[in-house]
């Protein structure tokens, strides 16, 4: 096989494209612009770390099934960790979101980074909701019987039946986490690709266009 043939392969072309756009020093940088020196930047990585804890504790709950945490002290503690990591995750995510808004972090061709972040925020809300709906206790009974009216009013309730525990649990532990993790990966790749948005410069006349 000639070099030309190898260069034409989809695999080779994809590898070269990825390596060109995201060289190792961009994926794992060892320096950053000096302006990235604010506590607000902590909340992005805190959101990621909290997501890791949410997924890990969720996986632990999945091992023994949805009833385990009602019957076991250990299971209840894991559920408590799952709950509090979710609360931390949303707190960090909302602070991160507001921080990025006031930085106008979409500037310089970063609008897709902003948009993936917003979709991720909305996906996370849906994921959390299906978790509340899958608790198999009084909370889930009340939450689902109330939430059905809003979802039914949009017509979506005909297909997304919040009173169907099996459906909610599947969305909570399979479909929505897959979407959230994929969106997180895309969001982080875009951040690494475009870098952190520079500060406003009042007299700027040149820069990175959108």
């Amino acid at each position: 096989m000639s070099t030309e043939q190898i260069d034409r392969q989809w695999t080779t072309r994809l590898r070269k494209r990825v390596a060109g756009k995201l060289p190792p020093e961009k994926v794992l940088p060892d320096t950053q612009p000096a302006y990235v020196a604010s506590w607000i930047y902590v909340f992005g990585v805190a959101t990621l770390a909290a997501l890791g804890v949410v997924i890990a504790t969720g996986c632990l709950l999945a091992i023994r099934g949805p009833q385990w945490w009602h019957q076991s002290y250990v299971g209840h503690f894991v559920n408590s960790m799952h709950l509090w990591s979710v609360e931390i995750f949303f707190f960090a995510m909302v602070v991160h979101l507001w921080g990025k808004y006031f930085m106008a972090a979409w500037r310089g061709g970063r609008s897709l980074t902003w948009m993936t972040g917003v979709v991720l925020f909305l996906t996370s809300i849906a994921t959390a909701f299906t978790g509340y709906a899958s608790q198999t206790n009084f909370d889930s009974q009340w939450i689902t019987t109330q939430a059905k009216d809003g979802i039914n009013a949009t017509g979506a309730g005909a297909y997304f039946n919040v009173l169907n525990l099996g459906q909610m649990l599947m969305w909570h532990i399979v479909l929505l986490p897959l979407a959230a993790v994929a969106l997180t990966a895309l969001h982080v790749v875009l951040v690494r690709l475009k870098g952190v948005v520079p500060p406003f410069e009042e007299n700027a006349t040149v820069g990175t266009p959108s």
Binding site: D30, Q32, P33, A34, Y35, V36, A37, S38, V45, A49, G52, V53, W69, H76, N79, S80, M81, H82, L83, W84, S85, E87, Y101, F102, M103, A104, R107, R110, M115, V118, I125, A128, Q135, N137, F138, Q141, W142, T145, D149, I151, N152, A153, T154, G155, A158, Y159, N161, L163, N164, L165, G166, P198, P199, F200, A204, V206, G207, T208, P209, S210
Partner: protein, 313 residues
């Protein structure tokens, strides 16, 4: 040369760089979040209020249960008069000219008389009074059934519960007094909970029927009110036991508290519509003049990057 747009374009950064250990930062963040999670879980735990069943409801409030069952038959419960996706009793909510629920139609068909009363009773072993009562009901015309239901509905204020029986003082209800009494006894034994969830067979994960029936009575909402979970109590943000709930839904629940949403029969559709519009606006902030200008005009960024600007002066 293209004009520089400060809310869209980013200025060229010509300053210095600082060392950045992304792996160390990520590891520290993970350790801190794990420790914080363990601390919060140890200190506060998590709520786990026991589920409500039709058995607990009918034992605590047998007349409320019996009344709800009658109302399921006369069509005045929330579920009986719901509309899509459960039945054709109403058209569902609208957002202006968008009749989304109606367009999607009845996809989870439910007949409250049949599914909540008659079919569960038919699953019981044959009994000396229930079997003839069910036979009478099933053989009766639609008009006859309706007349019985009307009579029994008028009796609601007079019915009482005594020695394990639901007593209907007046005549004219046909087989209904026997049926409602049998259903109440079935509910109090726990058998109705099972009958409503096993409609699709032995294995099931669908609690639609039993949850709808439960929510038509007063017991579930009374329990929720004592736990500060109802809509007027901003319940979406709370969990049982005073735990924080889905606090990130504060804006969603806020709309239910203010006019015109708070008094509209289309509140759910209107609130969802509003939230959809706001979500799309949030998504498209980078492209919306005005919204994308606020960060620059508000100058909050000077606080975020204060070190950067301090070093410039």
């Amino acid at each position: 040369m293209k004009r520089f747009r400060p809310d869209v374009d980013a200025p060229e950064y010509k300053g210095g760089h600082a060392p950045y250990d992304i792996i160390k930062e990520g590891t520290i963040a993970l350790v801190v979040i794990v420790l914080l999670t363990v601390l919060l879980a140890s200190l506060f735990g998590s709520p786990d209020e026991k589920q409500v069943t039709i058995k607990t409801w009918s034992n605590a409030m047998p007349i409320d249960f019996a009344t709800t069952a009658i109302n399921e038959m006369n069509g005045t419960t929330t579920t009986a008069g719901y509309g899509p996706p459960y039945n054709h009793a109403a058209t569902g909510q609208d957002i202006g000219f968008l009749h989304l629920a109606q367009w999607v139609g009845v996809r989870i068909p439910l007949n409250t008389t049949k599914d909540f009363v008659v079919t569960p009773l038919e699953s019981l072993p044959a009994g000396t009074s229930l079997t003839p009562a069910l036979a009478t009901w099933n053989a009766a015309s639609k008009a006859q059934r309706s007349a019985w239901v009307t009579t029994v509905t008028k009796e609601i204020p007079k019915i009482y519960y005594k020695q394990g029986l639901v007593v209907f003082p007046g005549p004219g209800g046909g087989p209904l007094p026997v049926m409602i009494d049998a259903l109440t006894a079935m509910a109090r034994s726990g058998a109705l909970d099972q009958a409503l969830v096993t409609g699709h067979g032995f294995y099931t994960t669908d609690y639609t029927k039993v949850l709808l029936f439960l929510s038509d009575g007063s017991y579930l909402s009374n329990q929720a009110a004592t736990q500060h979970l109802t809509g007027s109590q901003w319940g979406m943000m709370n969990e049982t036991g005073g735990y924080p709930g889905q606090a990130w839904l504060w804006l969603y629940t806020f709309w239910y508290q203010v006019p015109p949403f708070s008094s509209s029969s289309n509140a759910d559709a209107l609130v969802w519509g509003t939230m959809m519009v706001l979500s799309v606006a949030l998504l498209l902030v980078p492209f919306i003049p005005g919204l994308r200008t606020i960060p620059r005009k508000s100058k909050v960024y000077r606080l975020i990057w204060r070190e950067h600007y301090r070093n410039q002066t």
